[in-house]
Subunit: 276 residues, 2 copies
């Protein structure tokens, strides 16, 4: 693991690191915020999965999460959203290829050599950060934005016992019925839908549900409303009597200004679960 930068931040440290990833078969970069409490022992962990076009950097610099994580004594992990590099396949579209890993493992060429973001975020990166930082890996929660909201929700639902709470800002809730989903699944998994994985929060919710609280914020003026599929997840949560809250925030859109506005609520929500 290489240290790219470390900056003092709210009494703790905002670092950026890179490492040779086995699952993604390329160098991967990620951010970690460690609160000052980490000097005295392992601290709980909140993952933040970012959306389309983002790298590890966007949420790290624009979401304002460190202020609240420092207050609560929680570490933040900011993974990248896809493999990167000249050898890694890409597409001219902003929503396919680099910057658009969709938190799944690709099975078809040319994507299958590098696009293993499920394995990377669910297995490889947790092992790496667990070994290299003072993190209490028995206390983890997860959050995400847009495509990263899809990632956070599907990981929380598909990995029971891993996360104590899950939240999302404007998540893609029902990718199987959205062009933010079908397009990428077709590319990464092939056209035969019978081979597609169960990476859809609204479908997964119909199974066991999530053993913990869920918080979702979506703006009423989100410019991508039709692509998010919020109604499908709202319906599934209600049918399941899933513990959770869906807030439709008046006048807010899909931007980081929206995320920053409600970040304090999300970190406090996770802190309650992490310190329960």
């Amino acid at each position: 693991m290489k240290t790219i930068s470390e900056n003092r931040c709210y009494g703790g440290t905002q670092g950026v690191y890179s490492h040779a990833s086995d699952s993604c078969n390329c160098e991967m970069t990620f951010g970690v915020f460690m609160p000052e409490e980490a000097a005295h022992g392992p601290v709980p962990v909140l993952w933040f999965l970012s959306g389309l076009t983002c790298t590890h950097e966007n949420a790290m610099t624009k979401a304002g999460a460190q202020a609240w994580a420092a207050e609560q004594g929680i570490a933040l992990i900011f993974p990248d959203t896809s493999p990167r590099g000249a050898d890694v396949p890409d597409d001219d579209a902003y929503d396919l290829g680099q910057g658009a890993g969709f938190y799944i493992d690709a099975t078809t060429a040319p994507w299958d050599k590098h696009f293993k973001m499920w394995t990377y975020v669910a297995e490889e990166l947790p092992a790496l950060v667990g070994e290299n930082f003072a993190l209490d890996m028995d206390r983890q929660s997860i959050c995400g934005h847009s495509m990263g909201g899809h990632g956070a929700l599907t990981m929380a639902l598909a990995l029971p016992g891993r996360f104590r709470s899950v939240s999302a800002f404007a998540p893609i809730c029902n990718p199987l019925n959205s062009e933010w989903g079908r397009k990428q699944f077709t590319a990464y998994w092939g056209a035969d839908e019978s081979q597609w994985g169960p990476h859809d929060a609204s479908v997964l919710m119909q199974g066991e549900g999530f053993d913990g609280p869920i918080l979702i914020d979506t703006g009423t003026d989100d410019q991508f409303t039709a692509l998010l599929g919020t109604p499908a997840l709202a319906q599934a949560m209600a049918e399941k009597s899933q513990q959770g809250t869906i807030r439709l925030q008046k006048g807010y859109d899909h931007s980081y200004f929206f995320i920053a506005t409600f970040m304090e609520d999300h970190v406090a929500f996770h802190a309650e679960a992490l310190y329960a």
Copy 2:
């Protein structure tokens, strides 16, 4: 004035606007955050002047100021740091030309046609925003970072009665004795130092001082310490018995992570003066 974007943010609106600037002789872009209190009447104003290489956007997206401005019911104005455009002179160096206006009015060619950032920030932009937004222009304060800290301090000192309080993050305090100053003054004003203006906070402090409180935060690990000239201003403030505080923050550097960490303090400091 053209609206480039408006995003709902902490109950208010973060907007980006542009206009044809008379003083800079080009189209200029700026950001304005209006808290929700502005719906009911004019609100106090806090200017934020940015540093080298920045546009209007950096502080607007990375400093986290809106959270605290919303809490205090204060508007934020984020000017650009120089004129821009294909017709505007530039230099290959990051610290000269576009992105490096230094908050002074250039008098020598080729800079003198566009580089009038003193007049722009001190006169033209206040008139424009005062006319177009619900701002109480009798209640203004000013803040800045690095080159923008130099701008904030020199404006507060040279425009008595304009600002109720002034603060800065890692400001350039003594540009007459720094390559962050001499280089730009030589370019914009010419080599004859007798023609240089009194745009140096440490020198201005030796005059009347500032009729209000000053707050300065600078990191002990600032990578540009030698260029900032903090000792000169500290000495001048002490000799003057100037009301104010200089904090040297252990372990912090020159980055926006440093700014964000102490932004709450700065906005609260200005709010106390603005609502006194």
